[in-house]
Symmetry: C2
Subunit: 194 residues, 2 copies
């Protein structure tokens, strides 16, 4: 269904993706083709999902629901992959705002310099606050009595700990997104000649 022809989708098994049955769509050319082409951090996404996310979110044990679990795993992995690889669009925007700066760092192979330049602690803190608020809102039990224009959700008994969700963002999502940005900018800046 041409899913992996979309610039915001990255396949976990690119060699196994069949040719689309639907004709191609014309996406606006936002990303640099060379910088984007080989960028695939899904092995790291899978490792972080299995090694960090699942132990933090799932109770230990075997409930026998392998089919349901596999369906949920695939949906979660694809969402996580998509979010992490959005870093390419962030990196492209940062590059366009400062091409000479990133090009100089890339041409010096200064990975740490790129990392420092793209890091914005204020933005990261705002992202984590937003994740925490979303987890509190969407993980709440809903009290129908409260449907009076007041608070619609009861945040005192969340189904998932908002701090744990924000912790996974801090420990998994943000670092992987920044790794995507660093890799993208290394290639993007190397080819830039002003």
């Amino acid at each position: 269904m041409r899913r992996y022809t979309s610039p915001d989708e990255v396949a976990f098994h690119p060699a196994s993706v069949p040719a689309p049955l639907l004709p191609p769509l014309a996406y606006p050319p936002v990303l640099d083709a060379a910088a984007s082409a080989s960028l695939n951090l899904n092995d790291q996404v899978l490792a972080a999902y299995l090694g960090v996310c699942l132990p933090a979110l799932a109770a230990p044990g075997d409930d026998g629901n392998y089919g349901s679990a596999a369906v949920a795993d695939v949906a979660a992995l694809q969402a996580l992959s998509k979010r992490v690889h959005y870093g390419q669009f962030v990196a492209e925007a940062k590059f366009r705002a400062d091409p000479a700066g990133y090009a100089a760092l890339a041409q010096a192979h200064d990975r740490a310099g790129i990392y420092d330049r793209l890091t914005d602690a204020g933005v990261e803190a705002a992202v984590l606050a937003r994740v925490r608020a979303k987890a509190a809102a969407f993980g709440a039990d809903v009290d129908p009595e409260a449907d009076t224009g007041g608070p619609p959700a009861d945040s005192s008994s969340p189904k998932v700990d908002p701090a744990a969700v924000a912790g996974l963002y801090a420990d998994v999502v943000l670092p992987l997104t920044k790794e995507v940005q660093v890799r993208y900018l290394l290639t993007r800046g190397l080819a830039w000649d002003g």
Copy 2:
């Protein structure tokens, strides 16, 4: 993956479901096998989804995203089917609370009598209030500034109109769920001999 061996799953294309690769699970025998076996309202679920739900929820037009739309459609249809067919469990509970009453109606082929007996206007109103509250909470834009123990979601700008969601419950989900209950109780009661 043995999905359609679960008593709370009903296939849209039962003739096309392959044999499970996984060994069968032992589900607690809650439903009456004869009443449940032939009960499949998925044709009506699909018709209601296409004819009522989509026109109420989706803007007219063609955005070209056929693959994404098909994935979302399948997820929505399976959730809707599952919710509607939960009516079997509701009907079984109602039968156990009043077997002689439902058996007499079933043996008289009194479909309208069964419908009236299983209808509880107070419960239905509470379900609709809860749906409305959930749509308001989970469809809200989240304001991270509000992560202070106060209302976590801004219900003043929902992404989807809570009244429209409650309307679909009233127009589609509840009637189909009650049709499932009526059909289940007709078979369940017919075979009952006290």
